[in-house]
């Protein structure tokens, strides 16, 4: 796919990304929050209707914890945005942006993935 066509595709998909992902309400998540986590992918489920991922992140004291992204974009949608699943395979370092569940602060909606090269893939909105 040439760069221009890819750009057009990303723009077109971005325009519909929000209603696309919103096939159900996000009311259970505090979507006003954008909590950033730098970590290493522990598990990945590239599935529909929503992908899921766990991320291992380091605490300030050097210990590690697992962040559980219980939902994210539909797998088909995010790969059409250009995400290569190999770039988020277990063991890969990424930055993830999450919104916590209101009733379970240890479970997050995966709002965006940012790769080490700066490429960003949004599940909701730009």
């Amino acid at each position: 796919m040439n760069k221009r066509l890819k750009g057009l595709l990303v723009a077109a998909l971005a325009a519909i990304a929000l209603p696309a992902a919103a096939h159900h309400s996000f009311a259970i998540y505090d979507m006003t929050q954008n909590i950033e986590f730098d970590g290493v992918v522990e598990t990945l489920k590239m599935r529909n209707p929503h992908m899921a991922m766990t991320l291992t992140v380091a605490n300030p004291d050097g210990t590690k914890k697992t962040i559980n992204f219980v939902e994210g974009a539909p797998a088909n949608m995010i790969v059409r945005l250009g995400l290569n699943p190999a770039d988020v395979a277990p063991g890969k370092p990424i930055k993830a942006i999450g919104a916590p569940r209101k009733d379970d602060p240890n479970a997050y909606f995966l709002k965006a993935i940012i790769l080490p090269d700066g490429h960003r893939y949004n599940a909701v909105g730009p």
């Binding site: 796919m1 595709l9 209603p19 696309a20 309400s25 539909p74 059409r80």
Partner: protein
Amino acid sequence: MMRNIREGFGVLMKSASTIALAAALIAVCGCDRSGPAATAVAATPQHPDFSGIWFPAGRQQDPQRPEFTPGAAAAAAEYEKAFTLDDDPGRYCQWPGMPRAVWGAPFTVEIQQRPQDLTIYWEGYGMYRKIFMADSAPPVPPLPSAMGYSVAHWEGDTLVVDTTNLKQYPYMTRQATSSAAHVVERIRLEEREVDGKKTKFIVNELVVTDPKVYTAPIKITATLRHRPDLQPLEYTCTDALWDDYLTERGLSLPDLDALP
């Protein structure tokens, strides 16, 4: 109740940005109007060919907040006491079905057109629908279904599709319909200018009538953009359900991909 209805239609309104983008394009109708009016003949060279890969490109609806009948309003009030918007049938792979599938989720829609019928595959939820030309239609199936029973005829360059035999979709904040719902679609091709290139669009004008649920017909215009550059992907909706089952049972599958 109105809050949830508003939230539900808020999703529609978010789609309005896409509609606005499409509306901003210059519509250039390249339709062939030489076909006979109101005939039941199958697709011929003088009729549009809807075959191809398409992608949802927005919709409009009038009224935006359809009025429930008194019975449906009471059902909606009860529904809202028990259900939230997070109780999502789509998450459990329930097909949205007709008419909701027409405006669809943001996944490819593949149409294969033959003289006697059209077959539509929606990537999202793996939905499948047959539209039979009137002179080739089989009997009404014995069971109602999510996609119903659709029979079509041509009116010039417009395919007019009549759908009945739908099973109810009783999710009151999600464009609910009863089995009495009747959908009439008027489907045509348009050619519009997109980035200097002529691009095909399918414009589907639907009228949904459901006297058990709504006090008046609902008019919807849904648009699909021709996207031959997109490859339909498999959408296996049940993976998460199976994963959850395995977790509940404390079972874990072997990872064959990790084998040497």
